[in-house]
């Protein structure tokens, strides 16, 4: 079988090939990045959700912020998928790789902690600015991750950039 033939290549050649693969992926990932306006909107929506959750009480309307934030995120993601599709790129929405699964689980954990921190510190510790801080952290984190890792895989194997 052709694909099982053993070839001998030097360490340097192998390193150069891996470097070129990394470079190709890096360039591709850059071109798959969402428009900045969508990244900003998604980040702000995440902040709104976290902040609203932290501020929600029986006698106020902050819960509405969570619904608006969630709806905005859904619309932005749908827009991003549609734009990419028009440009000839079908983004993988489902978690199909181990790296992506790890990334999603890590993100969920971080967000759970931020959400709990934002609300619990305000309600039980009386720290009024906890939702503000939590919202800022959540929004910044989402914005950074969407910009830096558009494919959603930020746990990668070792890079070969010399």
């Amino acid at each position: 079988m052709m694909n099982n033939e053993k070839e001998t290549i030097s360490k340097e050649e192998a390193a150069a090939i891996l470097k070129s693969v990394d470079s190709t992926k890096h360039d591709a990932v850059k071109s798959f990045r969402m428009p900045l306006i969508l990244i900003t909107l998604i980040s702000l929506s995440c902040s709104l959700i976290v902040f609203s959750w932290g501020m929600t009480e029986h006698d106020n309307m902050w819960a509405l912020g969570m619904y608006i934030g969630a709806a905005t995120i859904a619309i932005c993601i749908a827009l991003a998928i549609y734009t990419h599709r028009l440009l000839g790129i079908k983004v993988s929405v489902l978690v199909r790789t181990k790296e992506r699964l790890k990334s999603v689980l890590f993100l969920l954990l971080i967000f759970a902690v931020i959400l709990i921190f934002g609300r619990q510190f305000r309600v039980y510790e009386g720290f009024e600015y906890a939702p503000h801080i939590a919202a800022l952290i959540a929004g910044s984190l989402v914005g950074y991750l969407l910009y830096k890792y558009p494919t959603g895989e930020f746990f990668k194997e070792k890079k070969y950039n010399d």
Binding site: M2, N3, N4, E5, K6, E7, I9, K11, A14, A15, I17, L18, S20, V21, T24, K25, D27, A28, V29, S31, F32, L87, G88, I89, K90, V91, S92, V93, T151, E157, K158, Y160
Partner: protein, 94 residues
């Protein structure tokens, strides 16, 4: 754990780049790959044919908005072989 293998089909520079591109997404259009690789239609078609014959990629032609588009994706077999090939290269480096 599956043993890493040196895959001569994937190892050709353009095919390696095609697999690298496809690994990051679900599907890419023929034109996008062509632009990323900066090769002609015929060169890309030739490489895709080799990968398709090895069951590493899948080509689907669709008409969208009155425009014929060819979508290319890595098959599960292709994804696995590409990973094993990269693993073998990493093993060589040590």
């Amino acid at each position: 754990m599956t043993k890493s293998t040196f895959d001569t089909i994937i190892h050709a520079p353009n095919r390696l780049q095609i697999c690298s591109l496809l690994e990051t997404t679900k599907e890419l259009e023929f034109q996008v790959i062509k632009e990323q690789l900066d090769v002609s239609d015929s060169v890309l078609s030739k490489h895709l044919k080799v990968l398709e014959d090895a069951n590493y990629v899948q080509l689907i032609k669709k008409t969208e908005f009155t425009r014929q588009r060819t979508w290319v994706s890595l098959t599960p077999n292709g994804r696995k072989s590409f990973k094993l090939h990269l693993r073998e290269l990493r093993r060589i480096i040590g």
